[in-house]
Symmetry: C2
């Protein structure tokens, strides 16, 4: 409704966008399979007007705008791998793999201004050297070119910008298998997870950002008449025009573990609000974002815009390009996912820019009581195992009353709960093939070091669950590890520094606490001092539920209660769940809300006598 | 529509708000006279439920939400002084004056926690020592008390908070004459301007902020069901609850010239989003904000909330309380209007808070050509004279081509334009009584010093219009001055430091430029380097109009074109015009847009199996 009522400004009469695959759209909560046709031969391409481009993507935008308002389940991008294949008009698994392999061992050409050399690409956590080389950019050449691309993109207006962004997402979606391999071999995620989290779920978050950007930019009318009565005299009359203007060039600083999922919200929020975007990937996870940049440049050029609206800034490992770029005067927006140290540095130093950061946090699950003990154990075991706990949302501190908990299978002592949880993880990961499909590979040596330190003789406590190495059937050089669970006494002072620091990777602590009230206190303190992306709690007591809820409202943390089925505390769904709160030290923004987009542009008013 | 559809959460069954004057409301663009009944005797007061409170204010809120979307003219608070009087249910001019006078020469009691002394009050720019004393607060006592008031205010929800804010505004509106005297005798504004800009126009901006706050907080539903299909298996079902949570205590740092107009947006945006607000007025302009705080505390208490949700932090002149408060950990939001130096300091140092600043800027009017020479001169003369140019929106640099301009009265040389403008100001201010009613008084010695320096022998250029002292018929000690206009050559390097620095007060420069193109270049540079709250331009050329518009879009400045009637470049209307852009150095925020409120609260989601 909102979209239909809002005017879509179309100042450019014809765009030369010639190839418009687009997922079909139905007004149903059931995801549909996108019909992404193979690109027709060039001679069959037809030019589209800007209005036609907007019309083709309007239903999806419209539906996304509805979803972010109702928060019901919706996605235009199916998550099942079989939805991507020739019978649906997109490359199938084999073709996607072949496309990925064709990228290896060669230069990744982007034809950007200011390319002054080539930087070597990634070594996969699965042990494959990708052998790709990426262009290295001279910011003194590239940034002015990007800035020069801005006015035409600004003048295109929110409607055309949203349509172009949706076209980019549609083309990325059609290549989901190819992207899955790129995400897998940079993040270490298992294939299915790389396909889903790095593919449709990331695309969802990108689309969500486009929807928020469109909604924000169209809250003021393009023009308004203003008539102020003046008693017996003639009224005062003005005509006012309102234009959304971008801030400038945006910098996206990508992360190692979720290059697309964590990158797309900022990328598309900035682009849809009119800002050129310079993408600075993590040196270990370039390929997924390089493919994204190439796709975006291709669509922008076809639509008649300057492709330099999106560009790549690959760097040599340790070069520190982000630090240099982030304080350039051209950079007016920074999106960042990564360590707290560099996030804090950006907030303190990139003062010429609006800065959005997702940093480290310490996630807590409070285990007070449950009426589905088995479901709780299974759910927690999965949460700890998924991607070897290498998620900013994985629980770290499991707070369990020292006196045990009440369950539907009777009272369970602290030790029983811990050993039952260890048993649930063992069972879940008992089969190596299944384990590998859930765990993926350890993303980098830092994670492995932390794991080994926590498991070693100088580790913080008694091991409740030993981490084991799993042999990968296909990639013998991959480092695959099951989760480690360490027992800690939450009421002993020496536990404090361990509990209050993020130990990113497959390490969790089963923390004995004197009481649930004491656990809630520890939870509050952890969120307040260290931040948290997620909080979980299991309880059958309304009073405990109130206590935990109140703590999360006070400390501004997202809470999942009594998850025992197929939804996990470490997963959030675009259009419905908020990722992070932006109100505790773990992140300065939430994905996505109005605050994530509203300050990426400003509104200029021109008024004159009517 | 938006409001009617959105649920208004009413967790508190009964509020003890007993006295509810409220302006009547009609669906018309014509302002109506508020029927604010005199407070009935206590025994006639009746308790209202929260729902009744919300219902009483809903029509005004609803209409405000519509106005910020359509940007048409609207205000529920009439600007004519005669709209406030006993026949309309509110104190009339005499009663308002008496109420003001009753405040003088005594302590301004607020009954706040942590009052550790009294600070002497203001001396009016009109020469009257107000003799008022204000409570001085110990932040170690006051801030925890304010923080403790937060949870119940948060739990009340956006609907009740908006209604309470509208009740506060309604009571302030009913006392418009009393506030007018308070604003006049602290800012130096003339009575009519103090009444309008400090009264209904400030109330409009406060209401606008409440409307934005309400709209932002209700964009997510209070609760949602989420059902994700799982093929042949049962779908996943979750129930999700979304709660707007405030950031913490907000600090409002008020200014000398527009204590209410510049203070209300931040105050009401923070309060309506659930944050307690500590009001730190300018030491020379305490009374209007002290009255505001008292009114807010009275309404909050009657509505069953802790009055410490709004408190005053008066300071001794030079005490530097804002600097101390702004970096306290309890302070999570800062709103500030004042010097660039302190605004920059706040942005750099109040890192624990979201900071909104309005600082200095250099406003330009480009004079290229006109088809209403007389109208242009009259309009500019008024703009320069209003409140002796002591507005952040007053034009400073008038850029005029050296070769003159084309007008409906023939070609006019640069010298003719300048002397005609001087003549128009002289004519406007020829009658002392009328001059005083327009000029008001010089607000503080700093303004007078700048004026005298610019007019003196070491001033920057030849005087085109001499500033004269005007005797105030009622207040002989008031310092009243007419505007000074100084000629400058915009193409000489020595002019640059003068042109590129704000000279706040009744000083403007008639800047000769080689060409209109050169003028646009200077305009761009001025906005980029020094910021601007306003830009004006007079031109009959579509090409020049395009050039100036493009410059304003690029540099993010609000543009008024060809104003020749009763609307002035230095005035903006709430619900329709944006004040500042938030995109150039003059201000980090615009009044009001979504970005001004969206980050004052965060959303906490609690999800559980359905």
């Amino acid at each position: 409704m909102v979209v239909a009522a809002a005017p879509l400004p179309l100042p450019r009469p014809i765009v030369r966008l010639q190839y418009l695959p687009i997922p079909p759209y139905r007004h149903t909560a059931i995801p549909v399979i996108p019909a992404v046709p193979a690109r027709p031969p060039d001679e069959e391409l037809v030019p589209l007007t800007a209005a036609e481009l907007v019309e083709r993507h309007r239903p999806v935008l419209d539906r996304a705008l509805e979803a972010i308002r109702t928060r019901e389940y919706w996605s235009p991008y199916p998550e099942h791998p079989k939805a991507y294949g020739t019978e649906h008009g997109s490359p199938d698994a084999a073709a996607g793999k072949a496309a990925f392999e064709a990228l290896l061992g060669r230069r990744f050409e982007l034809d950007q201004p200011g390319t002054d050399g080539w930087v070597p690409g990634e070594v996969s956590p699965y042990g494959i050297g990708l052998g790709t080389e990426y262009p290295h950019a001279d910011p003194d050449v590239l940034l002015p070119a990007m800035r020069a691309a801005l006015p035409a993109w600004r003048d295109a207006g929110p409607g055309v910008r949203a349509a172009v962004c949706l076209e980019i997402l549609a083309r990325i979606n059609a290549r989901t298998h190819e992207f899955a391999h790129a995400v897998m071999h940079t993040s270490g995620q298992a294939y299915l997870m790389a396909l889903q989290a790095g593919g449709p779920h990331a695309q969802d978050r990108g689309l969500e950002a486009v929807a928020y950007a469109y909604a924000e930019q169209t809250r003021l009318p393009g023009a308004a008449e203003w008539t102020k009565p003046q008693g017996r005299r003639d009224p005062l009359r003005l005509r006012k025009e309102f234009t959304a203007v971008p801030r400038g060039v945006a910098l996206l600083v990508g992360c190692n573990t979720f290059p697309t999922w964590n990158g797309y919200p900022g990328l598309f929020a900035s682009l849809a609000t009119g800002n050129p975007v310079l993408v600075k990937p993590h040196p270990r996870a370039v390929l997924p974002l390089a493919l994204t940049v190439r796709t975006a440049r291709e669509v922008l050029a076809e639509a008649g815009f300057d492709p330099d609206l999106v560009a790549l800034a690959a760097e040599r490992d340790g070069e520190g390009v982000a630090k240099e770029l982030a304080v350039r005067p051209e950079i007016r927006i920074v999106d960042y996912t990564g360590s707290t140290a560099f996030g804090d540095w950006l907030e303190a130093n990139a003062r010429q820019a609006v800065v959005f950061t997702e940093k480290a946090g310490v996630n807590t699950v409070l285990v007070d009581s449950t009426d589905d003990y088995r479901g709780m154990l299974g759910n927690l075991a999965f949460s700890l195992s998924l991607y070897s706990g290498q998620m900013c949302t994985t629980p770290q501190n499991l707070l369990i009353p020292r006196g045990g908990i009440d369950t539907d299978t009777g009272h369970r002592s602290y030790d029983e709960v811990v050993s039952d949880l260890a048993g649930a993880v063992d069972k879940l990961l008992g089969d190596d093939r299944r384990a590998v499909a859930l765990l993926g590979a350890i993303v980098n040596p830092g994670v492995l070091e932390r794991l080994e330190a926590a498991a070693g003789p100088d580790g913080p406590g008694e091991l409740a669950l030993v981490s084991r190495a799993v042999a990968h059937p296909e990639f013998p050089e991959a480092t695959v590890r099951t989760p480690l669970v360490v027992k800690l006494d939450g009421d002993r002072p020496e536990s404090e520094p361990v509990l209050l620091e993020e130990c990113f990777g497959p390490v969790s602590f089963a923390v004995a606490v004197d009481s649930t009230a004491r656990a809630v206190e520890l939870l509050r303190r952890t969120v307040r001092e260290r931040g948290a992306m997620t909080v979980g709690a299991y309880t059958t007591s309304p009073q405990v539920e109130r206590l935990v809820t109140e703590a999360c409202l006070e400390e501004c943390a997202q809470l999942s209660l009594n998850l025992t089925g197929g939804v996990y505390v470490n997963q959030t769904a675009a259009f419905s769940d908020l990722h992070g709160s932006g109100g505790n030290p773990a992140a300065s923004a939430a994905l996505c809300d109005a605050a994530f987009v509203a300050d990426r542009f400003r509104t200029v008013e021109v008024r004159r006598p009517a």
